[in-house]
């Protein structure tokens, strides 16, 4: 694992010693090389895990997420080039340093065996993200967004710290490889329920669950493009990953404790999708669609069947790529008209046809069109929830319908129809932007041919 971590840490000197003309080139090319080194991790044995040391391991659950994280860094760097053009050199280097430190923490989080190490790095990802949102965001609301983001996550995760320490004291070790063999005693219902809640709430806030999702629209909307991309694609999946890891020790209680959360998720799915139908702000629409997709993932993880785990993992990877691509598309709009309102830039297909192709593909994957992996994820989750209880099909089916509605709404609003008169002077698409979109889309399409690698633990 050090072969990935140490090059990522070494990206710091690469930035600080490059001169002005070379920083973007150096950063992007070296992070693409790190991608190349991470690819062999995807070769996972079925039930087992690759244990690199006592501290780091990679599993069939963590390797797709790890791959997503390292794939996203060059994309984030490419996407940030435009809005950082006018900043001074030191500030550019600081921004990139924040991105790299975030990347380093994320890589270590996804490969940690010891759960306390996972916790420390999980919290450590908050600081660079906070700095990116509040320092480089564009509107006044970014301060409030940063506070909401920090405090929602911290209030959820401090009980997790206490719970993990309690588990370590009663079990003896929090090393994930050891915990597979733990026998859970459910002595007193109150304390085991509190333990379950303490462990799960941190990840529920991170996912986010519908009632605790207030930080997400604020943070996603106010963050600059790299911040939005990493938030939507990876940081939300930290919640799902944590829940998937902890379900092993939480086992008998989940059957009872999961009910209120499943209900909140099913209802929240429909609510947030419906909010998307009435949004005027493009980034806010994509943020609420993230909440809706993640609610499906929460339902899948709480139901704990093999198919639902497969669907959860596939949906996490698919949503990561799709949501990040949508944010990049929204950012390409924002860079041209400096506004996030959808209404102000319509009929773009006449002006930027290639970008319209990417918009079409992103919207189609967002609404879970076959044969993309988004559909595979959602289908597995919906089938598992149907077998868990027949009535859920009403909610999940309605959600799929409303998802299709708002995705097509977003597509037709921005691309089709008559153009507005004031956008006659927008610049044509840069090659950088087209590369960005294709690098999002190509993994999505290629994974359609072999979704086995993103199916996770129970394939």
């Amino acid at each position: 694992m050090l072969k990935i971590i140490i090059p990522t840490i070494m990206l710091f000197p690469v930035i600080w010693y490059s001169n002005n003309t070379m920083i973007w080139i150096n950063m992007t090319s070296y992070s693409l090389m790190i991608n190349l080194m991470t690819l062999p991790l995807l070769n996972q044995a079925g039930n087992n895990s690759n244990n690199f040391s006592l501290t780091f391991f990679s599993d069939s659950l963590s390797s797709p997420l790890l791959m997503l994280t390292v794939w996203l860094l060059p994309l984030m760097i490419m996407a940030s080039q435009h809005h950082l053009m006018k900043e001074s050199l030191t500030r550019k280097k600081l921004y990139l340093s924040m991105l790299i430190s975030l990347q380093m923490f994320l890589i270590m989080t996804f490969s940690a065996t010891e759960l306390i190490l996972f916790y420390i790095l999980f919290e450590a990802t908050l600081i660079p993200t906070l700095i990116i949102i509040t320092r480089w965001g564009n509107q006044t609301e970014r301060l409030n967004a940063g506070l909401y983001f920090l405090f929602y996550t911290l209030i959820g995760s401090l009980p997790l710290l206490v719970a993990l320490i309690y588990v370590q004291i009663s079990l003896g070790s929090l090393n994930y490889l050891v915990m597979n063999f733990w026998f859970q005693d459910t002595s007193s219902p109150w304390s085991s329920n509190l333990l379950w809640l303490a462990c799960i709430m941190a990840f529920m806030v991170k996912m986010p669950l519908y009632g605790l999702h207030l930080w997400l629209p604020k943070a996603h909307v106010e963050a600059p493009i790299a911040g939005s991309m990493v938030l939507a694609a990876v940081l939300l999946k930290l919640g799902g990953y944590g829940m998937l890891r902890l379900t092993i020790i939480l086992n008998p209680m989940t059957k009872i404790m999961a009910y209120p959360f499943i209900m909140l998720c099913l209802w929240g799915m429909i609510m947030t999708s419906s909010i998307c139908l009435r949004q005027t702000d493009l980034k806010s629409l994509i943020a609420y669609s993230s909440v809706s997709h993640m609610a499906l993932v929460i339902v899948a993880i709480l139901m704990q069947t093999p198919w639902s785990f497969m669907g959860a993992t596939a949906l996490m990877i698919a949503h990561g790529l799709t949501s990040s691509m949508l944010f990049c598309l929204a950012n390409s709009n924002y860079e041209r008209i400096h506004s996030r309102t959808m209404l102000l830039a319509r009929g773009l297909q006449a002006f930027l046809p290639l970008m319209a192709t990417w918009w079409l593909l992103a919207s189609l994957t967002n609404l879970a069109l076959p044969p993309f992996i988004n559909l595979i994820g959602e289908l597995f989750v919906i089938m598992a929830s149907f077998s868990w209880s027949n009535i859920t099909i009403a909610m999940t089916g309605l959600n799929m319908l409303i998802t299709a509605l708002y995705s097509l709404y977003m597509l037709t609003m921005t691309q089709r129809g008559k153009f507005t008169y004031h956008i006659h002077n927008i610049k044509p698409s840069y090659t950088r932007e087209n590369t960005l979109m294709s690098m999002h889309m190509l993994p999505l399409i290629m994974l359609t041919f072999n979704p086995k690698i993103i199916m996770g633990l129970t394939y």
Binding site: Y119, I120, T134, L143, V162, I169
Partner: protein, 349 residues
Amino acid sequence: MKLPILTIVMTTIFTGTMLTMISSHWLLIWIGLEINMLSIIPILTKNQKPRSTEAATKYFLTQATASMLLMFTIVFNAMHSGQWTTTNIDPNNMIVSLTMIIALTMKLGMTPFHFWVPEVTQGVSLMTGMLLLTWQKLAPISIMMQMFTSINSIILLLIALMSVLVGGWGGLNQTQLRKILAYSSIAHMGWMMAILTFCPSLTMLNLLIYLMLTIIMFTMLNMNTNTTTLTLSNLWNKSPTITMMILISLLSLGGLPPLTGFLPKWVIIQELTKNNNIAMATVMAIMALLNLYFYMRLIYSTSLTLFPTPNNIKMKWQFQPKKRSLFLSPLIILSTLTLPLSPVFSTLN
């Protein structure tokens, strides 16, 4: 103040604390505390303003009351147990244990005897405030660490919890930086005392890290004599590096991983959980978030936003700074980046 006088006074302060720390006879401990208190009064009134005089008076009255209570407890203990050592206080003697805790927590500035801390810290200059919040804590904590087996843990835990609450909520409405650091001191004292009856070496660890962070904060604030949040918001113009250091130090003081300030909170929560005190650990951890909120407000106004300044240039031209900042760089590194070295701190005992 003339240098010879300052030297004598500083040496006396040092002697007082040292006398307390090395003695095992209660009378000498009390004498050391008194020497310390009396010799810090001229330091508090160094700049001759009415505010400083008021601060010195409040400090004197509170500390003298605490010393008198301590003397009462010492004599009472001598009367009932017949000996004057610190390690043999009878924990069943309720009067002794109660008044001992009251006296020592009054010296430290913990709730419900915390009212003097913000006002005294605000009334004196930045460096004197640093002396007050760092050096003055050493003597009472050393006494408490010597007698930790005979302290009534219920009362101490209650006082600690209240200190964490008051330190969190009290600092929320402040803009004066010295008061913010005073409330931060109250909250950190709460964390330190919570673990005293279970594992005193963790009190030492928390004290060490807190001392480093407070010294850094005061030194950085002293560089441009920033005493309010408003003046702090102009710091980006003069020295952007200091704004970054303030960001990291305040985040470490708030206890965010992966900075070193997280380490005391982590091990204290671990020890409390080992002793089945899970509710206390959770409540204290969540209340520490209040502290983090007002640190975040400071961080917002210093490093993460660019406030409008009186000048229009990117960086203000200024003379060479004359204020010395001793040990700032190693202290910053020690107090923010050494979480991976946490097993080293187990050598503290």
